[in-house]
């Protein structure tokens, strides 16, 4: 009976130690997760600051393009000489170029790993856009029902976000 009691006590001690070990491991894991989340947030804030700066610099060019698009929709149903329509298209070039310049500036502001992540994401987005364009063109050539070509532009943003997340994950 005494031996049995002793064995039970040893068992209880072992269980207690095991439970304490698990609790400690749980606390460690939680702490690690908290530290990781905090560091991630700092990294994100730094990158967001660069993107925000680029966004602010790009705003006038985006407004310019938006106004041009509105003007283009307005001109579609009006009898205007082709010269003016051509001029409208030509006037869209400077803001588009400036948007590219701002994107390049933002890339330069990033550090080398962030730049690599961004460039990988851009390359993947570009490849996805080319695939989508070729498929759309094939649908059009075969005279099958196809969505308008500008849908490719709409797909650009989510594709870029997914590609960036994937590229970032590769280096974590």
């Amino acid at each position: 009976m005494r031996n049995r009691m002793q064995a039970m006590s040893v068992d209880l001690d072992a269980h207690r130690k095991q439970a304490e070990k698990w609790r400690e491991q749980g606390r460690d894991a939680l702490l690690r997760w908290q530290v990781h989340a905090e560091l991630e947030r700092d990294d994100l804030l730094e990158q967001r600051a660069i993107r925000k700066k680029a966004g602010r610099r790009s705003l006038p060019w985006l407004v310019w393009i938006a106004l041009e698009t509105i003007a283009a929709f307005f001109l579609v149903d009006h009898p205007v000489a082709n010269f003016w329509k051509g001029l409208l298209v030509a006037l869209a070039l400077p803001p588009l170029v400036m948007l590219c310049v701002e994107a390049m500036r933002a890339l330069v502001d990033f550090d080398e790993l962030q730049r690599r992540i961004e460039l990988t994401a851009l390359a993947l987005t570009g490849m996805a856009a080319i695939i989508a364009l070729v498929l759309l063109l094939m649908l059009q050539v075969l005279k099958l029902p196809a969505p308008p070509i500008w849908y490719v532009l709409l797909l650009g943003s989510p594709t870029h976000t997914i590609a960036r997340r994937w590229a970032k994950r590769r280096y974590q």
Binding site: L39, E112, L113
Partner: protein, 66 residues
């Protein structure tokens, strides 16, 4: 490429954020270098070597070729 950045950083008692600030890169970059997921550019490798007062080959060691 394997490296001894983590050990060296530990010897100096710096956090990843401290080292990142000294190298003028993000903490994410330091972490990726330490875990071997990212090989730094030559200028950054030189910067790291200079900071730790060693040569590039004493910090960065070629990994086994597959």
């Amino acid at each position: 490429v394997n490296n001894h950045v983590r050990e060296l950083r530990g010897e100096y008692g710096w956090s990843q954020a401290d080292l990142a600030e000294r190298l003028d890169v993000s903490r994410q970059t330091v972490n990726a270098i330490e875990t071997g997921k990212y090989d730094p550019s030559l200028p950054l490798a030189f910067k790291i070597a200079k900071l730790f007062g060693g040569s590039i080959e004493s910090i960065f060691v070629p990994g086994e070729e597959s």
